[in-house]
């Protein structure tokens, strides 16, 4: 299952849709389908979403994956129709959050209209997600997708994901190379709006240094927890796992964060799955595998599977490259 075979879409679809199989196996199939990204894969994701009974983790990861599968106008139309339907239904907040973000990614003309539903939203996660999505749609329009700021998003160092905010152009405006300034923007919930704070965050990712990682991690500490929302923290956790060359220094921060029983489930989830892509030692997460919160224990199981997958691939790589 680790090596993705483009001829096995129906197999991956069956695994993803089999409610009796363990969640990590199904999530693995989900990433395989996301990688293949054919129209057939989209249908498999839609179906899996519809039949899933209990796993918020699986449902929101499906929405996340859809927001990254905008391969063609035909893909976009299908994804848009599906997400519009999801946003018209009742789903857990984390699922709706991911659906809104995904819709914003594929730049639907209807996005702003659809978000009216959440105008009086009281859930912080959803309110903030809608705020960011509206800001992103407006930014793309105002700057011609970055052009007037001299940004070419497809040429960024990290260009493999659709993200909720662009970085600042630190080549044109060198002050944004200053990690201390960026850190102060991220932590300042009074003078900067969340979109600007996200932009500072994505600028740090683009800088891609250990200092940038440490600056991002300040969002995760207990002393800054009042200034940093759950949504912001979960985004930090996500981004850190992408920064393969430099992320090691963030591991202690993430482990502290996930151990905090008061931390929001969306944060603990994202931290756990990110750690799965970062650490080799499962015992560091052992305490979460039977956690009473379903999304926490499922995230832990998924993290374990990432660790196992990575070890298996590394072993295969070692054999192949030694020949």
């Amino acid at each position: 299952m680790i090596w993705i075979d483009h001829d096995k879409v129906s197999e991956y679809a069956a695994t993803l849709q089999d409610l009796t199989l363990p969640i990590p196996k199904r999530v693995s199939s989900l990433w395989c389908l996301r990688t293949v990204s054919s129209l057939e894969c989209l249908d498999a994701l839609f179906r899996a979403f519809e039949i899933e009974q209990s796993s918020e983790l699986l449902k929101h990861e499906i929405c996340y994956a859809l927001g990254q599968m905008d391969k063609s106008p035909e893909h976009i139309e299908k994804i848009q129709n599906f997400l519009e339907k999801v946003l018209d239904e009742d789903h857990p907040k984390i699922v709706l959050h991911e659906a809104v973000e995904a819709l914003g990614n594929i730049n639907s003309e209807n996005t702003l209209k659809l978000l009216k539903r959440f105008e009086n939203e009281t859930s912080e996660i959803l309110y903030e997600t809608c705020f960011l999505t509206i800001k992103l749609v407006e930014w793309r329009e105002k700057t011609e997708n970055g052009k007037t700021e001299g940004l070419n998003l497809s040429k960024l160092k990290f260009n493999t994901t659709n993200d909720p905010a662009p970085p600042f152009n630190f080549v044109r405006e060198p002050k944004y190379k200053d990690i201390q300034l960026l850190e102060s923007i991220i932590l300042d919930n009074e003078n900067y709006d969340l979109f600007e704070r996200y932009r500072a965050l994505f600028t740090l990712r683009e800088l891609n240094t250990e200092e940038a990682v440490i600056a991002m991690c300040q969002c995760m500490t207990k002393e800054n927890s009042k200034k940093c929302s759950a949504l912001l923290k979960h985004e930090v956790a996500f981004i850190l796992a992408q920064m393969e060359e430099v992320f090691k220094v963030s591991i202690p921060f993430l482990i502290d964060c996930v151990a905090n029983e008061e931390e929001a489930p969306i944060v603990r989830h994202e931290v756990l799955v990110s750690l799965g892509d970062m650490i080799d030692d499962k015992s560091l997460l052992e305490q979460f595998v039977n956690h009473p919160d379903q999304i926490v224990n499922e995230s832990c199981q998924v993290a374990f599977s990432y660790i196992d997958n990575r070890k298996a691939v590394q072993e295969e790589e070692r054999l192949i490259n030694a020949q």
Binding site: I2, T35, K155, T160, V171, F238, E244, D277, V313, I320
Partner: protein, 162 residues
């Protein structure tokens, strides 16, 4: 973030050179250097072990000159070496008993230092060349590639009526 910071390196354009290609965009039939050998990709698979991080690509290729099989892995985000190939088309004039062929280019120059391919993976090409040549109804046009100082007949097609 500006264009010039993200330019790919390119090798020299002459035959024997290499160019950089993105490992993630490789597909069957492409050329890539595997462990120092110019190979044609015969199988390509990716592995994504988790939610983040670059996928790994496992590539199997056949050395276009020696026919040896090689395997290696890349990160799909890597830029990897691909042999720069020079491709020329010739008209087949004759096949000798020992497998050597006479080829002629557009300028009328004759080339007589190549054999029909004997490799298993090019057996179809060799058979087709013999077929077109024996029938004698159409011109037999063969493509010769050269890379890293080697040359080989790699494909064939029918030309005009003779």
């Amino acid at each position: 973030m500006e264009d010039d910071e993200y330019q790919f390196e390119t090798g020299d354009a002459g035959s024997g050179g290499i160019e950089k290609v993105s490992a993630g965009s490789l597909k069957k039939g492409d050329l890539v250097m595997i462990k120092g050998h110019p190979c044609k990709v015969v199988s390509f698979s990716t592995a994504k072990t988790g939610k983040h991080g670059s996928a790994k690509a496992m590539v199997t290729g056949i050395d276009i000159f020696s026919s040896n099989k090689y395997e290696c892995t890349f990160s799909t985000g890597d830029n990897v070496d691909a042999p720069l190939m020079k491709r020329q088309e010739f008209t087949l004039i004759n096949i000798e008993d020992d497998g050597y062929v006479s080829l002629m280019n557009d300028a009328g120059d004759v080339k007589e230092d190549l054999k029909l391919p004997e490799d298993e993976w090019l057996k179809d090409v060799a058979d087709k060349i013999r077929e077109i040549f024996t029938e004698g109804k159409k011109e037999c046009l063969v493509a010769v590639v050269s890379a890293m100082g080697n040359e080989k007949i790699i494909s064939v097609k029918e030309g005009k009526d003779v």
